[in-house]
């Protein structure tokens, strides 16, 4: 009853796929954004697993940087969503089609 490191990688792959499917399926911008967070987290899990496999901490440092960039991305992204809601009164991605000719 041991846990090979690949199990964690499988779980991270499953979480990433769920995030991708969510972005493709849902049309609520906020839910799509949450699915992007899901994908970032699964990649962090992969990085930490490989850090353990290789026996050094650089994967964890990179994971830390991913977290910082994700925080910055969430701040700006949510501000953009609020602005978009002021403009369109909707959080549906299909309503944002101003560039469609």
């Amino acid at each position: 009853m041991v846990v090979p490191a690949g199990y964690y990688l499988l779980l991270a792959a499953a979480l990433f796929s769920i995030g991708v499917v969510g972005v493709l399926m849902r049309r609520n911008i906020i839910v799509m954004f949450m699915c992007i967070e899901l994908m970032l987290n699964s990649v962090n899990l992969t990085l930490v697993t490989f850090s353990r496999i290789n026996g050094n901490l650089e994967g964890q440092v990179l994971s830390f940087f991913v977290m910082v960039v994700a925080a910055a991305e969430v701040t700006v992204g949510l501000a953009l969503i609020v602005n978009l809601f002021r403009l369109k009164a909707s959080t549906d991605a299909d309503d944002v089609d101003s560039l469609r000719s």
Binding site: L10, I30, M34, N41, L45, R52, V76, L78, T91
Partner: protein, 230 residues
Amino acid sequence: MVGVLAQAAVNEPSNAEFFVFIVIGAISLGSALCVVVLRNAVHGALMLVVNFFTIAVFYAVMEAQFLATVQVIVYAGAIMVLFLFVIMLLGVDSEQDLRANPAIPAQRPAAAVLGLVLFAALAISVAGPYLQRSSACPSTEAAAAATDAAASTSCVGLAAANEQGNTQGVGALLFGEYVWPFEVTSVLLVIAALGAMVLGRKDEPPEDLVDVHVEADPIGAYRADASEEV
């Protein structure tokens, strides 16, 4: 089932990781699916909090205690508060009907098929080489005794790297070798905060905050009201 697993974990310490992996992994997958499936965005956000906590548990199991703490503070704390705040700000009644017709026909089956293909590709390419029993990571006690020559797919474990403590090790790397990227991320955070402030600002002067048609001296008006009541 859970009782059997718990008993096995008590009997042999290496089973504990397996037990944690099965239970927390199931919760993690289920909450991730709920984020995608649930119609109400608030429920999705709460399920995302559950998912972040399970990932923090995985970090703690995988000898990354510092990242587990940061995960709880930054993701489950700060980022999810921001998400819930924006959802509440924009109105919680904007539920999306999942059964409404998508703009592209057959979007949902195509997305599901693409997700399965992606999962298969990731499972084969990334996780595939590490699925043997020999790829199991040694626990901290076992790693001290282990001397076996490593195959390319075996797991080294972090016992040596975490000898001084995980936080100390990450800190030494962060402020030693990676101090320049660290400073760049601090600049990035300042830029992001400024950007959010600029984007969240209203352009028009705040006339709606001050009613210009009412005469000045609101305190005097308040006094007049108060004296009337008395």
